[in-house]
Structures are given as structure tokens and as C-alpha cells.
């Protein structure tokens, strides 16, 4: 039964795409077939670039595969086709099919380069968070804010993912895409990430933000995102670089809040962490005596 559903979805989506209905993007099945548009300006630019190059490939495919299929049908020996053995070379045609791809490639490279320049511009950021990947989870540190914590796979997923756990993964909400403590960020603010690794190489990837950057021990990589003013909610991602046994079990969850909500959260968390640290210190000094 599960098999028939995707086929039906595929047919539906192919039909929708053929009619170029923008509504197809809202269709639930579509999310299982294509990149998301995401919630940042950059992620939408990447999506547009992706669709642009996709359609270029489709049209080249229509022409090239069309010529191949035509040859297969029209020039069959069984239909009495006689080969034109003098047709071995044609300079004019060969120049054309070298130049045309060059033009198409230039047309594609320009917007790609433009978007890339924008992605690489990490200036004028409002908030900096240091992200450290480790085996197997993430550490988030809000620089100069006194807030830092670890983020791991949530308990429910962790229990269900054991070999022979007997727990049905479909019964676990956001199976393998849920964490104990998400990364909390404000919308409408350019957030800079400083990404590094503690042990091996990881990669911090949230597709709706259009960000994927390797977390490399000994290196600090930069990335940034600015979530749309009107978006709040959870975004989910994964580690995208093989990092050992539990590589598949270190998801990323980003909790996007309004600027005001975020500021409150940051203040409260900073205060709580300060208090906890003070309690720890006094406990340590007591036990030391």
C-alpha cells in the first residue's frame, strides 16, 4: 500500500509541474520531491537557481533525447533505413554545438556567482553564535551573552532508534529530527554562525536556512542567515558529513522566535545559567572543604 502512494504522488506532481501550477509547491507531496523554498532570502535565491538550472537541463534533455529517440524510430534497419556513410563530419554543426553550451553556461554562471558573493558576505551581523559539532551532537554558544548549551537527539527518537527497539518510528514525533534543546534564534536579524568541530569533521545543515557548512576541528568557518520577519517556528536539519557511528543521529533544530521573544529567552537563559554556575561553584567549594 505504501508503494502505491508515491507513484500516485509522482503522477500528480508531474501533471502539476507540466501545467506549471504554482499551487503544486503547496501540495504536500511536493515537499518529498524537491528542495524547499526556505525561510530566508538566500534560501529562496538558491531555490530559484536550482529550478533555473533544472529547467535548463530539462530543455536540453528534450532536444537531445528528442534527437536520439527520433534516430531510434526513424532510422531503423527493420524499416529499411539505408545508412548515409558519407556523414562523418560537419564543421559548422560542430562549432554550433560547442558555442551554444558555452552561452548557456555563462548565462547560468552569472546568477550563481552573484548569489555566492552574497552568501559569502558575513559583515553587518547582529548576533554571533559559535556552533561546535562533536560525536554526536552540537554545542551552541551565544558569544558575549553568557549562554551556552548542548543539543542532542531527543529521548524518544533515541529509544526508538536502537536496533530491535520494537518502537514504531512513525509513532515518534519528528523521529530523528528532534533534539532536547534547539538552537533559539530571532527572526529579522542577521545571525552569524562560527562553526567548528571538536573531534572529527561534521557539517551543520538546515535546508530551510540555505546553510550548510563543515564543522572542522582546528578551523572556524563562517556562515550566516536572516530569517524572514514574519516567520516563527521550528526548522529541522541534520549533520551532513559522515562523522562516525551515530552520524545519522545528530539532528539540528532551530527555534525561530520574534526578536522580543528571543531577547526575553536570552535574558532568562543567561540569568539561569549564571545562577546554575554560581550554585555549582558554591557546591564545589563546600565539597572541597
Amino acid at each position: 500500500m505504501t508503494i502505491r502512494r508515491p507513484l500516485a504522488r509522482l503522477a500528480l506532481c508531474a501533471a502539476a509541474a507540466a501545467l506549471a501550477l504554482p499551487a503544486a509547491a503547496e501540495e504536500s507531496g511536493w515537499a518529498q520531491l524537491n528542495l524547499p523554498r526556505g525561510v530566508t532570502d538566500i534560501s529562496r535565491k538558491i531555490y530559484a537557481l536550482h529550478m533555473e538550472i533544472f529547467w535548463v537541463c530539462v530543455w536540453i534533455g528534450v532536444v537531445v533525447f528528442g534527437a536520439m529517440i527520433w534516430s531510434i524510430i526513424a532510422f531503423r534497419k527493420s524499416q529499411g533505413a539505408v545508412p548515409d556513410t558519407s556523414m562523418v563530419h560537419n564543421t559548422k554543426v560542430e562549432i554550433v554545438w560547442t558555442i551554444v553550451p558555452v552561452i548557456i553556461l555563462i548565462a547560468m554562471a552569472v546568477p550563481a556567482a552573484r548569489t555566492l558573493v552574497e552568501i559569502e558576505d558575513t559583515t553587518k551581523t547582529g548576533l554571533t553564535i559559535k556552533v561546535t559539532g562533536f560525536q554526536w551532537g552540537w554545542e551552541y554558544e551565544y558569544l558575549d551573552e553568557g549562554v551556552a548549551y548542548y543539543s542532542h537527539l531527543d529521548r524518544a527518537s533515541d529509544a526508538a532508534r536502537e536496533l530491535g527497539s520494537g518502537i514504531d518510528p512513525t509513532s515518534v514525533p519528528h523521529y530523528l529530527l528532534n533534539v532536547d534543546r534547539p538552537l533559539v534564534v530571532p527572526n529579522g536579524v542577521k545571525v552569524r554562525l562560527l562553526i567548528t568541530g571538536a573531534d572529527v569533521i561534521h557539517s551543520w545543515w538546515v535546508k530551510d536556512l540555505g546553510v550548510k557548512k563543515d564543522a572542522i576541528p582546528g578551523f572556524i568557518n563562517e556562515a550566516w542567515f536572516k530569517v524572514d520577519d514574519d516567520f516563527t517556528g521550528m526548522l529541522r536539519g541534520n549533520c551532513a558529513e559522515l562523522c562516525g557511528r551515530d552520524h545519522g543521529f545528530m539532528p539540528i533544530v532551530v527555534d525561530v522566535r520574534t526578536k522580543a521573544d528571543f531577547d526575553t529567552w536570552l535574558k532568562n537563559t543567561a540569568a539561569a545559567q549564571k545562577q546554575a554556575a554560581a550554585a555549582d561553584a558554591s557546591a564545589a567549594s563546600t565539597s572541597g572543604m
Partner: protein
Amino acid sequence: MAEQHAHAAAHDDHDHKPHGWRRWVYATNHKDIGTMYLVFACTMFFIGGAMAMVIRLELFKPGLQFVDPQFFNSMTTMHALIMIFGAVMPAWTGLANWMIPMQVGAPDMALPRLNNFSFWILPFAFTLLLSSLFVPGGAPAGGWTMYPPLVLQTGASFPMLVFAVHMMGASSILGAINVVVTIMNMRAPGMTLLRMPLFVWTWLITAYLLIAVMPVLAGAVTMLLTDHFFGTTFFTAAGGGDPVMFQHIFWFFGHPEVYILILPAFGIISEIVPTFSRKPLFGYEAMVYAVASIAFLSFIVWAHHMFTVGMPLAAQLFFMLSTMLIAIPTGVKVFNWTATMWRGSLSFEPPMLFALAFLFLFTIGGFSGLMLAMVPADYQYQDTYFVVAHFHYVLVPGAIFGIMAGVYYWLPKWTGRMYDMTLAKWHFWLSAIFVNVLFFPQHFLGLAGMPRRIPDYAVQFTDWNMVSSIGGFGFGLSQLLFPYLIIKCIRTGQPVGARAWEGAHGLEWELPSPPPYHSWTTPPSAAVIARGAAH
């Protein structure tokens, strides 16, 4: 005495081959060694395939049902190493051994003992690699790309991995040297470079790529070895090293390596399409130059495998543009193959069917390659199933179908017998359908956000993983037809003439089927060479 003379006269073809196991262990004959390479490659294809079945079985449903994540990672790592170094590369060397002497008008390969050595390294290399499955800590699980620092966490199998890679590399280099020397020195008089069949051309260029990059890989893994055992810190930041440097070195090998896997397939397709179109190859010289350009470009695109490591903007732009350039010579090749069919007289025997599937499906792999070249989009595709779909499209219906097309094309020549055409068509249609069921949905999985190299996944990826797994099992089972069909052909196939295919051109078709033990003991005459040259 007289009897001895008569005996010698009866064996005028200088067939002094030893018999029994000595024929294979002491083999110096290009056909015997070619056969051993092909049998070895086929064996590894099924071992690597069995590992792929484990992967697809575990991924059939979300949740872990069958294997531990560490073992799963070993399966993906070993599947890649075995398929690349054990199946595809030895299959190409086997085809080179069989065909290059016949196609250039030579009696044998130039360096027969080296040939023996380069083959016999392989069983030892792969015994070592496969036995790592049984050592403490299990087989290597850090990916075939062996990125440090992760690979340095490998258990007892780490040195086995490194030495196995050294041996595979040595074998490839020796085989490549033999190909270069044979092509440069053993061509019959009149067989000029620009008269050589495309398979010989593509292999010549492949051999140079191998000689250029296999030592680079050997150097990289040696540095891993000293990092692990002798306290060096080439790739450890804490000691002043650089883990990203490994990736640069690895992909400087790795990108030419992917062309090593595909260029000989270009050669085979360039032989088969003209034969079954009954028309010379369109734009022969353009094809040669296109292959040479692709080979050159392969050295300056490596960092497109690692756009997310955080390179400077200028470097990313350079590697994006150089990568996009590859589309131009590759496009020229696809257009030339299409033009070869145009106004031809086509028939659809199994080699042609595999060649046609290659044209369509390799081109799809090329399209996703073009998409991956766009750096901002690559940030989303990198390390997802989209990449898995991309490289399997160029390697399975690309390299593997190329090998199968070649085997179906030349098998009647090798054995002197025709195989069961109906069964071969079954093999083709099952392979062609299942390969798409297997790999096409992986594009969707990648775009929807499924990372590669994970043993378990979020539930929204279930449907397409099931479809992909069903395609995988179907594809795997269909391949069992292939060895059955070859054995049946050797035993009971109908005898064929020298020119097994009506439209076949080239020196190999001027020899009887099966060809004599030493291919061209006297060089072919100018007239024979001219008749053989298809262009």
C-alpha cells in the same frame, strides 16, 4: 623426431601455453590475463553488490532492523572501495588486455610478465581488504574517501585499508604503464594514432590519468598511516596539520579517478554505436580531442567535491567555472554519438541496447552534475542522496553498462560463439528498468533533505526509500543472469564468423573468432588496416 615436427607444424600459432593451474598463475598471455581480470571484476561486482543489498535492506524501512550503524558504515565504505577498485577498474583493465593488442595489430601486450604481476596483486589486495571485516573494530567505516580525523578512529583494520589501497594503486599503475607502452610501441605499421579505435584512445588517456594520480593517493594514505602510527600530524590541526589538506590531496586523485572509471566506457560506446548504426563514427577527431580535454579538465576541478569546507570566494568561483567547462567536451561527445545514429541504419542487439541506455542515463547523470556545479545550489545538494543519485547514474548505467555493452559486443569474438540473444535482452530490460527504480527516487530523497551515509532516516523519507530498495533488489537479482549467460555461451553458443556483427569494423574483426592465442603474429597489411579503420 618426425612426430615432433608434425606436432610443431600443427601448432603453427606458437601456442606454448602451460596447462592446468600453471596457465593462470604463470600467465603472460594477454587473453588469459584479460579473462582473469574480468572474472575477478565480476566476482567483486557480486561481493560489492551483496553489500549494496545489505544497505538497501536496512534502508527499506525507518528504524534499525538488521545491522548496527557502525556495520552499516562499513558496508557503504567497503561497497564503494570494492566497486571502484575491485569491479570497475579491473574490468576495464581486463577489456584493455583482451582488446588493445587485437585492435592495434599486436601479438600481445608489450610487458607480459608485468601484466601477470599487476593482475596477481589484486587478489591479495582484496583478500586483505575483505578480511578486515573480521578484525576487532570491524571493517573501515569512515567512507571510501577516508577523511581524517574520522578515518584515524578506525580500529585494527586501518593499516589493512592503507596497504590494500597501496596494492590496488600499484596494480593500476603497472597495468597503465603496460597499456601506454603497448599502444606507443606495438601498433602495426600503418596504424597511426589518429587511426586507432576510440577504445584504444580513451584507454591511452585513462592510462596517463592513472599514472598521474595513483601515486597521489598512495602519498595521501601513507600520510594517514604515519599520522596514525608514527606521531606525525599532517592532518591534525592540534599538531599544526590541516584536515582539509587531505581532502584537497584526495580529490586531486579522486576527480581524475572518476574519469578513469568512465573514459573507457566512452571508447566502447564510440565503437558500438557506429557498428549498430552501420555508419562511421561522427566527428572522430572531435571525439579524441573531447576526451583529451575532459582528461585535462579533470585535474583542475577537484575542489567541487568540497564546496562546503569553507574555501575563499575566488577559489569557489574558479572551481565552479572549471567544472561547468566539462559540460562542453562532454556535450560534444553526446552530440556526436547522436549524430552517428542520425541517418544510420539501426538495429538493436544487446550491445546496442546497453549503449543506448548509456546515452540516455549517463546524460541524466551529466545533468545532475551540471546542477551540482552551481555552488549555491551545491550547498543544498552536498552530502545528500542527490549526490548519491548523481554518481550512481554516471557509474551504474554509465561505467557498468559500458562494461556490459563491451562484454556483449566482444563476447562472440572471444568465445567464437553467440550468446542467447533473448536472455541478454531480458538482462538488459530488467537492468535498465530496475536501475531507474533504484536510483531515480534518490534524487527526490536528496532534495527533500535526506543526508547520505545514514543507516536510519526520518519517516517522511519512507516511501521513496522503499521504492529505491525494491529497485535495488530487482537490479541485484537481474545481474545473476549475466554470468549464467556467459557460461551458457561458452558451453553451447552457436559458432560465429570472424565478423560477428554485420556493421563491425576494426582489426579485431579481421581475426577469426575465437582469435588465435597470440593475436597478430604478423602485422596486418595496410589493406586490412584500411578496411578496419571505421572512419
